[in-house]
Amino acid sequence: MRRALPFAVMLVVAVAAYYAFPYNLAFLTRIVFTMILVLSLDLLLGVTGIDTLGQAALYGSGAYAAGLFAIHVWNDPLAGLAVGALAGATVAFVSGLFLLRAHGLTLLMLTIAVAEVLKELANKLDWITGGTDGLGGIQMGPVLGLWDFDFIGQTGYIYAVSVLFVVAAVLSVVTGSPFGLSLRGIKDSPARMRAIGTPVGRRKLAAYVLAGAVAGIAGALAAQSTALVSLSVYDFQLSAEAVLMLVLGGTGRLWGALIGTAVFMTVHEVAASVNPFNWLFVIGFLVLGVVYAAPRGLIGLPEELRQILRRLK
């Protein structure tokens, strides 16, 4: 029952948003696929303790793979998601083999470097990727052969929310499993995990590959929803903003990733429309405020408030 509650809340919020903002479904869909990206980051940063500023490498690879697959092979959305997941997982596996030997700042720099290398590769391979013009001409087929993507974005939104539910459910099961517990153990003490006989390197690589698949799904959804893949899918800014969203919501608990993404993107959207030049101030103060007042993120806020009330009594 306790585990089903967040899903019920998610469903209510998703349905309410659908009816409350019927003409902003494209934006809501963007929030949803970004949530999936931040979930993948939480698996690494929050659960396993792998520091990264290069999640865009996995996301962007999923986006390009799904876009190219839709144009040249088959425009079925679910098949595209599978291809995106495979691309993200493959990039994670290959890069993870050497990335995960590093720690701390070195690891952070290497993760950024991988995304930058892939961005430049996509730029150079412009005869395949469209280079700086982006990969256009993506026309998705109907979801499950039944529902066409419509102009308003209703199908896209419902499809993205459904994928988010599946991804969140899978990650909820995985993080609650013995595998998930071992990842939390690695975050707390890799040395102790080795001392109990866990192959820490292989386990971290498995987490990285899984996160790669999830980020790849997010990228594929982005490509399918926007019908365009540009070089910005590999942007450092995307990786950095994903970290901010996660920190804002709270790390290591999955649901914090969803809350942080929704709040960050909504504040970003509103602040940017009110003042297109100074919206970064608002975001900056928001993050500062949350990190100061609720170090465990927005998801930890009720607990912080409870502690304050207890102290006041």
Partner: protein, 249 residues
């Protein structure tokens, strides 16, 4: 083929600095041996060589007659060698139960399983409760480890290592940092270890060493100075010099 751990001619050098010199050691089922020596004698280096954290420059390490010198740290744990850490090294953000679940799940080869909740394996849960009871931690099972007193953390450390069902247990300064009011807990926990377990205890607290060890090995500058029964070691003038200074009365 001998049962237990057999170390022969173990050497380790970092460049020109030799930190382990021709060390021989036998540890058989039921043994309670202590390794003592002044700071910098090479005790931790020796345990790191046994557990596979460090690779020896030369010499052999055999377990039940099988050469384990080339096995990784994780493989040696699977083979039956486990150690506690000198400085408590636990999963501090996890509960005491989760700290015990992890080694139990690992021992059964289940930590790679991505489905079913980690707390749903009946056999594992029974063992968790039994270890909690053995180390008098039952009331603290759902508390995160970072909220435990240090002595209790040392007990969790031992319980976790025991959860691996090792045949060779290395206790690296189990009483280090533990307030004297809590040190009887440690002695009691060591006394309660399975009888057939081979235990090597590295400790500075001589009271604890003389209380639990059947034999004591004295290590100085990476080499064994002497080995004997506690009363022999206590009477050895070289050991007395070592601990009390050359001109003691």
């Amino acid at each position: 083929m001998s049962a237990g751990l057999e170390v022969r001619g173990l050497n380790k050098a970092f460049g020109g600095l030799t930190v382990a010199r021709d060390i021989n050691l036998d540890l058989n089922p039921g043994d309670r041996k202590a390794l003592i020596g002044p700071n910098g004698a090479g005790k931790s280096t020796f345990t790191n060589l046994i557990t596979g954290i460090l690779e020896p420059s030369s010499g052999s390490i055999r377990l039940d007659g099988r050469d384990i010198g080339r096995l990784s740290e994780a493989q040696r744990v699977k083979a039956g060698i486990a150690k506690t850490f000198q400085i408590t090294n636990l999963f501090k953000s996890l509960t005491v139960r989760d700290n015990l679940r992890l080694p139990l799940l690992e021992r059964r080869g289940l930590t790679g399983r991505p489905i079913r909740r980690a707390d749903r394996d009946g056999g594992v849960e029974d063992e968790v409760e039994s270890l909690l009871a053995q180390f008098r931690l039952s009331d603290l099972g759902d508390r995160t480890v970072q909220r435990l007193a240090y002595g209790q953390q040392r007990l969790v450390e031992m319980a976790m290592t025991l959860a691996l069902k090792p045949r060779i247990l290395i206790l690296d300064e189990p009483a280090a940092g533990v307030p004297s009011s809590e040190s009887p807990l440690i002695a009691e926990a060591i006394a309660g270890l399975p009888q057939d377990l081979a235990v090597l205890i590295i400790e500075h607290d001589m009271g604890l060493v003389f209380q639990v060890a059947q034999r004591i090995i004295v290590l100085v500058a990476g080499a064994i100075l002497t080995e004997g029964r506690p009363e022999e070691i206590a009477a050895d003038p070289r050991v007395r010099d070592l601990y009390l200074g050359a001109h003691h009365g």
